[in-house]
Amino acid sequence: MRGYIARRVAAFVATLFFVSGLVFVVVRVLPGDPALVIIGPEGSPEAAARLREALGLNRPILVQYTEWLGRALRGDLGVSLQYDVPVGRLILSRLPVTLPLTVMAALLMLTAALPLGLYAARRHRRAGDYLAMVVSQIGIAIPGFWAGLLLILLFSVHLGWVQSGGFAGWSGGLWPGVRSLLLPAIALGFFQTAVLVRATRSSVLDVLREDYVRTARAKGVSELSVIAKHTLRNAMIPIVTVAGLQLGQLMAGAIILESVFALPGLGRLALGAITARDLPVVQGVTLFVASTIVLINFVVDLLYVVLDPRIRYE
């Protein structure tokens, strides 16, 4: 088990290294001269030269990367050109929107998808199964941002129950914040719920066909025990894999939903930074989100050790 964990940790560190390299290459190397990107076509050559000097863009590219990576490891992601505050602080200030939105969508996804997928598998090729599959097929076809628009149309425009967007913040208590994130979280989690229902159904069906499940039933083990002890435990590995990948997708999807519901999260920070040509902010946000997704995948890898004893005794 220790060997497995050590290998995964080494792979995780190497992957993070690649993530940082990809972000750096796109922002600093591909454009040729990032200073020209920042000041735009209307900027003078003198201004570009000053900016190059200020940002250290005159130095060799490897030196720039090493310094940038070293600072990033210490939590220093540079200073926003638009707001003149550290990028790290900007990211932290937007996390109380993006993180709860992602977590709420994930919770909705898990609480809806796991029972539905299990139900569909147990009702295999019966009405309940077909209904669940039709609903999930439709769910997979509806983009989150369109689901968001339809929810706004129904609950805000027609029924007038909620505002069409905006974030109430957490200072007034838990409920106003949760309330303003509820519709976005439903819209965000809708697509991924449909995906997870299908994955859960498929995984549970595979396990239900196994000899040991048939044996357990033949021995007279109660159905509850067959499902809880024999089926779910073994079906969880592919489910956790899919759900783990989906957490990353939810975080990325939050960027779009923040625009639909005018939420001041990481996505809108990055989109605003693109308009303002604030490269350090875009660089910081993408590095942060990509690293978080890689971290989630790493945690999922470690969860296998808990779920699958074969890995523990390997």
């Binding site: 992957t15 149309l153 425009v157 779009i256 693109i274 040509r277 890689v294």
Partner: protein, 272 residues
Amino acid sequence: MRRHPLRHVTFTLGVAITALLIATAALSLVYTPQDPLAMSITGRLQGPSGAHLFGTDQYGRDVLSRVMTGTVISIAVGVIAVGIGAAIGMLIGILSGYVGGWIDEGFMRLVDAIQGFPAILSALLFAAVFAPGIVISMIAIGIAFVPSFARLTRAGFLELRAREFVVAARALGARDRRLIMRHILPNTLAPLVVQATTSFPIAILAEAGLAYLGLGTQPPHPSWGLMLREAQSFLSLNPWFAVFPGGAIALTVLGLNLLGDGLRDLLDPKTA
């Protein structure tokens, strides 16, 4: 006994919807009810009517014509993005699976890293450096597909490179290039075709999402996502404006998903 493909309900439905999609795209190249870019100050934000079956947008443009033209953009972005993802992914997968060792390890870490960049994130990054546009969205979406194609190709190569027919071909003097192109790669194609089919609707969804954010197709070109972005400001005035482009996305993705599912069932020997 192998089932006839058209008796497979999912596959048949998928083929029918996809055929409708392609027919609409082809038709829109030669005919649309109105000019999709023609504006009309007096006919803005109208609901569905005989003159405009899907109504009009904020500039009085015919939504049906724009939805039809948007089909071409969606298909083009889907095909090119999946092509980019498949080409780069397969190249990485071939090198990784065939050569193995440190090259395999290095490429797999690179693939893990790329997995940290969903299309939206790559698009943000590219749009910050280059101007946002349809090319950026194709590349960003394509990059997001690289890991799945790379892993599938690698898995196929790892499985096949030690098989008897490959060993025999090598013993007969076949060089690496011939082994890869004639013996191993053709045998890994079936899952890759399924992957391409299932990736296509994801690409269409991603294109719509990027266009919605303003990172993809730019005005005045009609992209379904861009139309939804424009429709959002007029939800209370003309809700139909948001319904039809979204419906087009949903129907397209549904059809392509059904086609992919059906294809997977038909190509999988366990279910055939």
